[in-house]
């Protein structure tokens, strides 16, 4: 009951943030130099008359005052109608749906791999504090944190596509094949390099965090007592370390959706991977306002959901938080 209340509170906060985000994004776009009609017409500019342009504007309600426009836009969004993408000439929700599935595969692989490897690296470093392996892992993570994601992508591209020739250089779907006809193995093939890029970059944060947490735990009174009771080595780390580190690490990993999404925008651009990140760039460059606003909202929901899941896991698993709330 109390857990439900807690989650409900978090969800309400998330909704209030989303409403505010809609308003802010709408105001921003309304005051931008983008002319949605022009963006829609694009190259056909010469063949479209002034009257036709006005007709399009009227059709979209662009002649109405901004407040009215906002409410009709927001009202449509609540019903799941994000409008029509100007560059793909398809409903925004469908464009996002298809693309997000591709991005989720990419981000999911990277998320799991970086989570597991980062956690292990953090534990290895923490257990060997001050030794060569610890310093090496620390150095590696700090260097990764300073590495531009897209540059790492380019380097992987040079090594694996140009020099070794294991992958084609243009990483997109084969020309002339409809996306639904691409086989699973082909999809996986195209997933490897961008996922590798994101995984490599992703370990830094979680590894450094886990290392620090493990050091804190190893200096704690309860580990001191466990050692006084004859526990030592891996057994001690397994019994007390992992138990106390895993929860914050999982929470952190769920809180990293923001960086993950940003990373995927860059990786998709480098490898021409047909995901949401690439759509973000196209929408921005070509002034596809409905798609851009849709992506802003969807990415925010993605990030908020990550945080929410982290909170829920914490509240379900950690006995102290559970108790804390039921006693209130």
């Amino acid at each position: 009951m109390n857990s439900a209340k807690y989650v409900l509170g978090k969800a309400l906060r998330m909704i209030s943030l989303l409403i505010a985000l809609c308003l802010v994004s709408f105001i921003l776009v309304k005051n931008s130099p983008i002319d949605p009609v022009q963006a829609y017409i694009g190259a056909d500019m010469m063949r479209v008359s002034e009257e036709q342009r006005e007709l399009i504007a009227e059709n979209w309600g662009l002649d109405k005052p901004p407040i009215e426009q906002f409410f009709s836009w927001a009202g449509a969004i609540v019903q799941g109608d994000f409008g029509t993408s100007m560059i793909y000439r398809e409903p925004v929700i469908e464009v996002i749906g298809q693309r997000f599935a591709a991005s989720l595969a990419l981000m999911g692989v990277a998320w799991v791999l970086s989570g597991i490897f980062g956690f292990l690296m953090g534990i290895i470093a923490g257990m060997n504090r001050g030794k060569l392996i610890d310093r090496a892992i620390k150095w590696y993570c700090l260097t990764l944190a300073a590495t531009p994601t897209f540059w790492l992508g380019l380097i992987l591209l040079i090594i694996f596509a140009v020099w070794l020739g294991w992958f084609p250089i243009g990483m997109g779907v084969p020309v002339g094949v409809l996306s639904e006809h691409v086989s699973i193995s082909e999809k996986l093939y195209h997933l490897i390099l961008p996922a590798l890029t994101l995984s490599i970059v992703g370990v830094a944060n979680i590894a450094l965090h886990t290392r620090q947490k493990l050091l804190d735990v190893l200096e704690s009174d309860y580990v001191l007592f466990a050692r006084a009771n004859g526990e030592s080595g891996l057994g001690l780390v397994w019994q007390h370390g992992v138990r106390n580190i895993a929860l914050p690490a999982v929470t952190l990993q769920f809180a990293s959706f923001s960086e993950l999404f940003g990373g995927s925008v860059l990786a998709e651009q480098v490898f021409s991977y047909p995901g949401l990140g690439q759509a973000t760039v196209s929408a921005g460059l070509r002034g596809d306002v409905p798609l851009l606003l849709g992506i802003v909202l969807i990415s925010a929901i993605f990030v908020f959901s990550g945080n929410l899941i982290g909170d829920i896991i914490c509240s379900v698993v950690d006995p102290r938080i559970k108790e804390d709330r039921s006693s209130v």
């Binding site: 260097t143 531009p148 897209f150 540059w151 140009v162 760039v281």
Partner: protein, 290 residues
């Protein structure tokens, strides 16, 4: 009986000597990193534009002594372009992160001192800005502002304050509840008096540490957004522009177009990290126990 005392002392003084060296080492490394950054900005000013002019007799050269980073398809010297690009990035990064730190300082102080309601609103704002992925927010702001240096600076400044705001809020809360501030309040000092005499002096080092913490993110995001085509104009030798252009020539085996400029950016960001860590260690030896 106490045979162990002497070797103990010897070890003690021995490590004391080693420690002093570590302090010197820290200072030397900090100095070197700072010199590197200043050197790049100065070098960019001093270098003539001849190196980045189109020169068809020097096209597509691999790295050599005369062109350490090679040349591109227009015969431009990549070393010169990289140095000038880094200088632009450092300046934009510094400007944007300074604005960000100021926002964080103001909001952090407000949140900590102006009551629960303001605190709640600012914490809500922080959540709002943390909710959208940095890069998506940057794209949105850059698009709305029509791209260019202005878009990048405002975008980076507006997206990097939230986490630092939390840190500063916590810091101010701590100072506020400390003994000497409570004494001042009992003595009837005004809020402003307390803020300017007790809290601000504590925040000045925070400003510099915050700047140095935000800067690496700022410069990386500037390069990313420029790489995606929303940032600095393609006519500038920015690192993002260089790397984005290089993509068309990688298939032809011109790896140096991407490798050196990106590596240089990595080194610059890392240098700032090192300065930041060392400064924190010198300012607060207890926290940096290792």
């Amino acid at each position: 009986m106490n045979v162990l005392t002497d070797p103990e002392n010897a070890i003690g003084s021995g490590s004391l000597h080693f420690k002093l060296n570590r302090r010197q080492k820290t200072l030397i490394i900090t100095g070197l990193c700072s010199a590197l950054l200043i050197g790049i900005i100065l070098a960019a000013q001093l270098m003539s534009n001849a190196g980045i002019a189109t020169n068809f007799s020097q096209q597509n050269l691999a790295p050599s002594w005369s062109h350490p980073f090679g040349t591109d398809w227009l015969g431009r010297d990549m070393f010169t372009r990289t140095i000038k690009g880094l200088a632009i990035s450092i300046q934009i990064g510094l400007l944007a992160s300074s604005v960000s730190v100021v926002i964080a300082l103001v909001l952090g102080m407000c949140a900590a001192t102006m009551g629960e309601k303001v605190d709640a609103i600012i914490s809500w704002l922080v959540d709002l800005f943390m909710g959208v992925p940095h890069l998506v927010a940057l794209v949105l702001i850059a698009v709305v502002l029509g791209g260019g240096a202005k878009g990048v600076i405002i975008g980076v400044a507006l997206t990097h304050w939230p986490s630092l705001t939390r840190v500063i809020r916590a810091e101010v809360m701590q100072v506020r509840s400390s003994q000497y501030v409570l004494v001042s309040r009992h003595l009837g000092r005004s809020r402003w008096w307390i803020a300017s005499r007790h809290i601000l002096p504590h925040l000045l080092p925070q400003f510099f540490v915050g700047l140095i913490l935000i800067f690496p993110h700022a410069i990386l995001h500037e390069a990313s957004i420029t790489f995606l085509g929303f940032g600095l104009s393609p006519h500038l030798p920015a690192i993002g522009v260089i790397l984005s252009e290089s993509m068309g020539y990688l298939a032809a085996g011109m790896w140096w177009l991407a490798f050196f400029p990106g590596l240089s950016l990595l080194i610059i960001v890392r240098a700032f990290d090192v300065i930041g860590d060392n400064l924190r260690m010198l300012l607060d030896p207890h926290r940096a126990h290792e």
